[in-house]
């Protein structure tokens, strides 16, 4: 591979800074070394821990099956990095090519990779959020504290928001025989991510496992006792739930505040980047030296009309980090696009849920294999006559096929017979997604329009 002088110098003695030392940051660093980058590598992370894995936090860690400090990410190789852990990035100077840090120092870079991810959206009322017993779950510290409190045997746990994280927390509580109330603003759990048809199955699962599930309600207030401990929650239907623990699971916020005023195309929806993971600036011009990967990125996807797509998916973080790292140290002709088909999984109430594609784009849904009533099925989402997504409950081994159907824009409803097609899988029905502009737990895949400079949170009509 012919490299010009400056690229060779970058690879040999350049300085690459990675802001965000979690899954995407670590995998990118490993890829950089794997591909021969021998310069200086600095890893900046606001959490004090070395990179760790988050999916177990709402599952095995809450159950006490895995101690919270045993979730460190396995290393693929040594990365020989200078670690600046427990230090948050506070600003970016694109002209001086410097990242400013919370300890007052700054770091210069030749190439910058931003993998700052997301954080849990906090309870909006700060006084109530400060009550003892009110939690969010995103970090290993969150998980440790919550696990201890669950072990102590609370009277009742209130989970606010029945997205994937909220549902997994409820599942972990029930597995420990703890009384749980789940309050969800939407019509059913998972409704934002998978629609009402599948959400209804999730609701039945929860109720069968003894969850006190309340849908179509909002928590209007959290009330503490005189010692500042959570006592109860007030719901919009006028009822009250006595609980000493509340876990706020209202989705995530992108960690982009530190980039305010930097000139980068960053905002509440994430940082816009091209398919090669290069960040856009606010003028919509792509940068050459700033790259983005993981949950904080939003990038255009050819399968979905080149709309910018934000994904809070483990597999996406890894794939995008690898592409970003590769592109950071290669010339434009050798760069690769990030065209990952969204996919995610969840384990809750004894069921393995997996999905590919972008379910919230789906207008209709059809059960192609198995049946909803068995809680064991494959359902396909259709958008304008083509397959756009699929979800499986305990049938993950078929997903590869449906992923190809999505990638080939195969016709919807599927015109072919398949094994285990049931009578109730003969006709598509409306998928039942709520209006995405309504705040809820939120989907984990979001299409966010065509503008790289989108700095506002606004509903982009998906079915215009």
């Amino acid at each position: 591979m012919p490299l010009d002088g400056s690229l060779q110098r970058l690879r040999r003695e350049g300085h690459i800074v990675v802001v965000g030392a979690s899954l995407a940051g670590l995998r990118a660093a490993e890829t950089l070394r794997e591909e021969g980058f021998s310069g200086t590598l600095t890893m900046i992370g606001d959490e004090p821990q070395e990179p760790y894995d988050r999916p177990p936090l709402s599952k095995q860690v809450l159950l006490g099956k895995v101690p919270a400090d045993h979730t460190a990410l396995p290393r693929r190789r040594a990365i020989d990095a200078q670690w600046r852990l427990g230090t948050a990035a506070t600003g970016l100077d694109l002209h001086a090519k410097r990242v400013h840090l919370s300890d007052g120092s700054s770091v210069e870079y030749d190439r910058l990779l931003i993998t700052t991810g997301v954080r849990a959206r906090p309870w909006p009322n700060e006084l109530e959020a400060d009550l003892d017993g009110v939690f969010v779950l995103r970090t290993v510290d969150d998980a440790t504290r919550l696990h201890h409190r669950l072990k102590a045997g609370p009277r009742r746990v209130l989970v606010i928001g029945a997205g994937f994280t909220g549902s997994e927390i409820a599942s972990a509580c029930r597995e420990q025989q703890l009384p749980v109330t789940v309050a969800e603003r939407g019509a059913a759990p998972l409704v934002g991510a998978l629609g009402a048809v599948v959400g209804e199955v999730a609701a039945e699962l929860q109720r069968e496992h003894g969850v006190d599930l309340r849908c179509g309600v909002q928590v209007t207030g959290l009330e503490g006792d005189q010692a500042g401990r959570l006592r109860c929650a007030h719901l919009s239907d006028g009822s009250t739930v006595e609980a000493d623990i509340a876990v706020v699971s209202l989705g995530a916020t992108r960690n982009t505040e530190w980039l305010a005023g930097s000139g980068l195309g960053a905002g509440p929806r994430g940082i816009a980047c091209d398919a090669g993971c290069r960040a856009f600036d606010v003028r919509g011009i792509v940068t050459d030296d700033v790259f983005v990967a993981g949950d904080v990125a939003r990038s255009p996807h050819p399968l979905f009309g080149y709309q910018f797509l934000s994904l809070e998916h483990w597999g996406n973080a890894v794939a995008q980090a690898e592409v970003a790292a590769h592109n950071m140290i290669n010339s434009s002709a050798d760069r690769r696009p990030h065209v990952w088909t969204p996919s995610f999984w969840s384990a809750q109430f004894g069921v393995n849920i997996k999905s590919v594609g972008v379910p919230p784009m789906g207008e209709e849904i059809i059960v192609t294999q198995g049946s909803l009533s068995d809680r064991r099925f494959t359902a396909v989402y259709g958008y304008r006559g083509r397959v756009i997504a699929a979800v499986t409950f305990d049938q993950a081994k078929w997903l590869d096929f449906y992923q190809r159907q999505i990638e080939q824009a195969a016709p919807f409803p599927p015109p072919y017979p398949s094994v285990d097609r049931r009578p109730d899988g003969m006709r598509p029905v409306p998928a039942g997604f709520p209006d995405p502009s309504l705040p809820s737990h939120g989907p984990t895949v979001t299409l966010s329009g065509h503008s790289p400079a989108d700095r506002r949170v606004s509903f982009t009509p998906m079915r215009a």
Binding site: G350, T368, Q369, G370, D374, R376, T378, Q395, K397, W398, L399, D400, F401, R404, Y416, P417, S418, V419, D420
Partner: protein, 412 residues
């Protein structure tokens, strides 16, 4: 079409020792209809795709009436079909119930907990080589690769030790019937096979009943006890499932172990590496499953509708052969595919299948092969092949040496 002759040559016993050049020929046309009728798929990505395709059935009832039957492994006509030959939802129900006492999530430690017992069986069998030291060698198949997995499956199911000899007998007879042979031979053997199958079924029925009354920590007891809301296996389903596990559980593992030792003896540098570094056994067995898979091809799939793949339309109801061993040597997927590289990276081989029918006993088979090969190379001093290639079994599907005669200077 040249491929017509190819398929015939692949099943031809004369090519049993090395079918791989033929597979390379076959891959020039990823999907091809053979003269005899079946559509043969030989390239990695196409096979992988079909293994996950819900338009593909494993149930012979979906074959069109005029489609040719593959060299199917016969099952007992008096028992219900096993999950190997069924589609969901029946497949999922039977396999799920069979898996309950075998693997995660309900029994995550079953295989792990057998480790020390497996080690003892291996040691015992190798100790038995002692009286043959320095002599005219041993047949590794008869003395080791065959008795080891049969003993293991007996322990797993819960067959009492004093009955293991019967079990070996029935297993031998039934296994022999799986080799496609000439019509006369088959006729002559049919009665013996029927008898063995019915004796085995009768025996299993009795044992299951016994375990139901006084359960122990084994799979038959767990199956007989049944659990939870998913219901349980009916008595005949239990018998057919247990018989399937018995046959499938050793017919394949014997080949894996024998192919493994053959490959190691042909690659002395790798043998030495394994001896120096027993941890190499884990990736080495994966490479073995790629390089010399015990199940060479899956001959019993059919299409529920017309399917286009690799530029060919396979019509509904066609018989489909998926040549796993060929996909495993596909240069489009594996660099340098004809080299045995024990620590090969990115080794997503097809040796245990893929999709819902992927090998049920995979964790056990892997552990058996890892332990067996590690111990054989550790304990045999200067092992060497007495003939190469060895004598192969007839079977083109479950391919492996019938005998593997080796010599060695001593035992550690």
């Amino acid at each position: 079409m040249t491929s017509v002759a190819l398929l015939h040559r692949i099943t031809d016993y004369a090519n049993r020792a090395d079918p791989y050049p033929l597979y390379a020929e076959l891959r020039k046309t990823p999907v091809v209809q053979d003269e005899a009728g079946p559509y043969v798929v030989s390239t990695y990505w196409e096979i992988k795709e079909l293994l996950h395709d819900p338009r593909i059935s494993s149930d012979a009832r979906n074959l069109s009436p005029d489609a040719p039957r593959g060299p199917a492994q016969e099952e007992d006509p008096n028992l219900p079909p096993t999950f190997l030959r069924l589609d969901p939802p029946e497949h999922d129900r039977l396999r799920g119930l069979a898996n309950r006492p075998f693997g995660p999530p309900h029994t995550p430690r079953r295989v792990h907990d057998m480790r020390s017992e497996l080690g003892e069986i291996v040691s015992g069998l190798i100790d038995g080589f002692r009286d043959r030291e320095g002599g005219d060698g041993i047949d590794l198949v008869d003395t080791f690769a065959y008795p080891f997995p049969v003993t293991v499956i007996c322990r797993l199911l819960g067959v009492p030790r004093e009955d293991e000899a019967h079990f070996h007998q029935w297993a031998d007879t039934i296994a022999a019937s799986l080799d496609p042979v000439s019509a006369e031979d088959r006729e002559a053997r049919a009665e013996t096979t029927r008898q063995a199958r019915s004796d085995l079924a009768l025996y299993l029925a009795g044992l299951i009943e016994e375990r139901r009354k006084s359960p122990r920590d084994d799979m038959l007891s767990a199956m007989a006890a049944g659990h939870g809301p998913d219901g349980q296996l009916s008595p005949v389903e239990m018998i057919s499932t247990a018989a399937l596990l018995l046959i499938a559980g050793h017919e394949t593992t014997v080949n894996l172990i024998t192919n493994g030792m053959l490959t190691l003896l042909r690659n002395p540098d790798v043998l030495k590496r394994l001896r120096d570094d027993p941890d190499l056994a884990v990736p080495l067995v994966e490479e073995l499953l790629r390089y010399e898979p015990p199940v060479q091809l899956l001959p019993q799939r059919t299409t529920l509708t017309d399917i286009e793949i690799g530029g060919t339309v396979i019509p509904k109801g066609a018989s489909l052969w998926l040549v796993l061993a060929s996909g495993n040597r596909d240069p489009q997927r594996f660099p340098d595919p004809d080299r045995f590289i024990p620590n090969r990276p990115d080794n997503q081989h097809l040796g245990l299948g893929s999709g819902i029918h992927s090998c049920f006993g995979a964790p056990l088979a892997r552990l058996e092969a890892q332990l067996a090969l590690t111990e054989l190379v550790r304990r045999l001093d200067n092992p060497r092949l007495l003939e190469d290639p060895p004598v192969y079994r007839q079977n083109a599907v479950l391919r492996g040496p019938r005998h593997l005669n080796i010599a060695f200077d001593g035992l550690k």
